[in-house]
Symmetry: C2
Subunit: 294 residues, 2 copies
């Protein structure tokens, strides 16, 4: 299966599942649900769901299980985008080529829509429909909660708020990004292995893959932020520079940043050496992080 086909299959699968979970109720919560749908359905690269599916197939995991877990992780990602875009945070008007949730539904509904997607993620994961084995469900929840919380994504966003005030060095920017975007990417890769009942000691290669892909992805994000086209990326660019934030690009320069991303992708693929052709999709995803224009 080509990467393009896999991406479009995953995108339809996730949209269909979100459409089901976010059916608008016939009561005054309509705007809350419409706000969640606006942010969650029909947009984005769905990189995290794709990673869940690509790892799950290594271990012959049931596709419906993988789809539910992928949807839960995407709910966390989308909630974080809604909250990060708020006026008090990054104050963004555009996201995925559309106005941000608070621009359409107001700040209060945007905050609540994020909170609801956050809770919904854990509801989906802990539902027996996601996996018959409660140990698997419980491990998925623990992994995702850590990836989302103060030692993961939200902690990384807190570091990012400080980045405007301080002048972070390369190790600090690396740690910030490993938390802010890396933790959820790592969780997506690991989730496929948890579903496949691979014990933690059998996940070392996949963990290394996820760490390197996550970092490469962020370096390219920083490059796109400076070199990219706003229409293609679908959001306002060049904000980090204006805010005086250090990024991989500002610290390394364009040539070294690109070389570093390429090296990380090679290294990520190297971590998959014990897998055969069944890991080709993971290899293609790694290469895609370099080639993408959005």
């Amino acid at each position: 299966m080509s990467l393009a086909t896999a991406m479009s299959d995953v995108a339809s699968d996730i949209d269909r599942r979100l459409d089901h979970f976010l059916t608008v109720p016939d009561d005054p919560r309509g705007d809350l649900y419409r706000a969640m749908r606006h942010a969650a359905i029909g947009g984005g690269k769905r990189l995290r769901p794709l990673l869940v599916f690509a790892t799950a197939r290594l271990f012959a995991v049931d596709r419906d299980c993988a789809g539910r877990v992928a949807t839960a992780i995407e709910c966390i990602h989308v909630y974080s985008l809604i909250h990060d875009d708020l006026p008090a945070m990054d104050n963004d008007d555009m996201r995925r080529g559309k106005p941000t949730v608070h621009k359409v539904y107001g700040e209060a509904t945007a905050i609540l829509a994020g909170d609801c997607l956050h809770a919904l993620a854990f509801e989906i994961l802990s539902d027996p429909l996601t996996h018959a084995d409660p140990f698997v469900r419980s491990e998925l929840v623990l992994d995702l909660a850590r990836a989302a919380g103060p030692t993961g994504m939200a902690g990384g966003q807190a570091l990012d708020l400080e980045a405007e005030k301080s002048s972070f060095d390369l190790p600090t920017v690396t740690r910030l990004q490993a938390m802010k975007t890396g933790a959820l990417i790592a969780c997506s890769v690991e989730a496929g292995a948890i579903l496949g009942k691979v014990p933690p000691e059998g996940r070392t290669g996949l963990r290394g893959y996820a760490r390197d892909v996550g970092l490469a992805f962020q370096i390219v994000d920083d490059i796109l932020d400076v070199e990219g086209d706003e229409a293609a990326v679908g959001k306002a660019l060049r904000k980090d520079g204006e805010a005086g934030k250090e990024t991989f690009l500002s610290l390394l320069g364009l040539d070294r940043a690109r070389a570093q991303a390429e090296m990380l992708v090679d290294q990520a693929i190297e971590h998959l050496q014990h897998f055969g052709a069944e890991a080709d999709l993971l290899r293609e995803i790694a290469r895609f992080t370099l080639e993408r224009d959005r």
Copy 2:
């Protein structure tokens, strides 16, 4: 054990646990953790943790398990207070007798502190330290996620936002409050039974108790909002009336509202008829919801 002793024991237990979970790290996330500590430690009635402990003792549940679950549920409650107090939501300056989180740490950190406590709740519940049986952990997560999300607390808050624009009738206000405050109170009571491995069909009485106590609690909240003393309650009062929101008090009048709360408390105690003296703490908590001044 008297209610006063139980309340003060639970308050110290929860404070001690939160102090441990929220140890301030030696990095730029200091403000994030200080914001969480400001909101979470040393305040509040700890009604939800008290309900977890009071139900857990019916089934001889290990006290440390109950304490961890109680802390997780309180994390959800505190996160909801932080987000509800934000300028875009209820715009409150005081909470539990202190300035609200966003007044001290700014809006961005307040949003993130709420998000972190939200994730932390699920991290605590799904940790094997909370209960050796993964089925119990997974059921606790599912119950709490539903109580927190769009069909529970956050959904109730969305209805509450609409309450300023519409003129809700008694059934709608009852449903709003059953979601906004009732769902998490019910989850606290049910958690004790889940820890005690009581099957769902054995929890009917406790569910009835929780529903009635939750509603009585909210009616008294509405009465305190009009009759209460701001210094004792620790937050700004009389805001619902100013916003033109219908409440139990505005719809029923003071005498009928108070009579309704008393009837609900009698009914809540009636639901405990199959329990002996071991349920006396739950009975006292029900009566306390009427007598409290904060």
